[in-house]
Symmetry: C2
Subunit: 196 residues, 2 copies
């Protein structure tokens, strides 16, 4: 690994590459990185703000980014810029196979164990899931509208955003169906939870 020859034993995680990808677009302060991660990356790579702050420092340690301090009055801010070896590392990573996508949903767990509580809670969980999906779709629509901020990136940008909204649309559709299925359960009509 040429691009990290001078580094002792620091290892890059997926988070490293996610932040590095943002740095490939332009230099940012950690605050901006955290905001951007929350705006866009979060949809397919949710990470805590805290992790982004730590990650920027790690990138510097890896030699993949440089930090330069600037000041606004008496307040300093640190701007991170990708290095040449950072770009090399990013390109290498982009060529490696990815781990399979995963869904994480507290609501789904609750539905899985719903027979331990009343149908009214099952119904509430399904309804909340429906609202959350609609919410996500709204936010994604706004985000897509604002994607013109980087017009040169639009073509690949829309691919990921479309993936995410398709997933949330699937959840919304499922919730519609599930609400009906719960009604059937409720009226005691067994075994008719088939979809037509």
């Amino acid at each position: 690994m040429l691009y990290c020859q001078e580094v002792a034993d620091i290892k890059a995680t997926q988070t490293s590459y996610a932040v590095l990808g943002l740095l490939a677009l332009k230099p940012w302060t950690t605050y901006e990185l955290a905001r951007q991660s929350e705006r866009s990356l979060r949809w397919f790579f949710p990470r805590a703000e805290r992790a982004v702050y730590l990650e920027a420092k790690r990138l510097v340690a890896l030699g993949w980014a440089q930090s330069t301090k600037t000041a606004t009055g008496r307040r300093t801010s640190t701007v991170y810029t990708i290095t040449r070896s950072g770009r090399t590392a990013l390109r290498a990573w982009l060529a490696t196979p990815s781990a399979p996508p995963q869904l994480e949903s507290e609501g789904a767990i609750k539905i899985f164990f719903a027979d331990q509580a009343g149908t009214e809670h099952l119904r509430a969980t399904v309804e909340l899931l429906a609202e959350q999906a609609d919410d996500a779709l709204d936010q994604l629509a706004t985000l897509a509208a604002g994607a013109f901020a980087f017009p040169e990136r639009m073509r690949t940008n829309v691919l990921s955003l479309r993936l995410v909204s398709d997933v949330h649309q699937a959840i919304a559709d499922w919730a519609d169906w599930a609400a009906g299925a719960v009604d059937v359960l409720d009226t005691g009509d067994d075994g008719a939870v088939e979809r037509q």
Copy 2:
């Protein structure tokens, strides 16, 4: 919180409730819990095997489960059983609102940053995502067929499993569309990444 009055300051996490939910079905050894988590919970609540082992002990500390040692020859195994207060805690949790579902996909990050590498890598990432989605759908079909192991649970079981397979189906469908969109990008035909 009546159900944890005797406990000092141990807090339950989502993982606690996920494992507790399994215990509500029947007693298990930690090994079995880990297997079951990997089989079913993983689809909407991915957790490392290690976490499950640690969680069982925490449930005992919370007073939500009891452990009893049994032995097979000279090898001991610990069976965990839910307690009354465990059931109460689970029911209370099932009635609380859930955090919104989240997708995590390394492939999606790579696609988001795909303009930093060649189209061939973008294509490969999309194709892998397609395979992974098909794979997931296969496994889920097998799982659904085996769901008859707990016939009394089937009705709510199918709801969660259907959610998960709908999501993976959405990814598979997206991948089909995206593959076409990448071809269009490749032939240099700009801006025609609309879906009809």
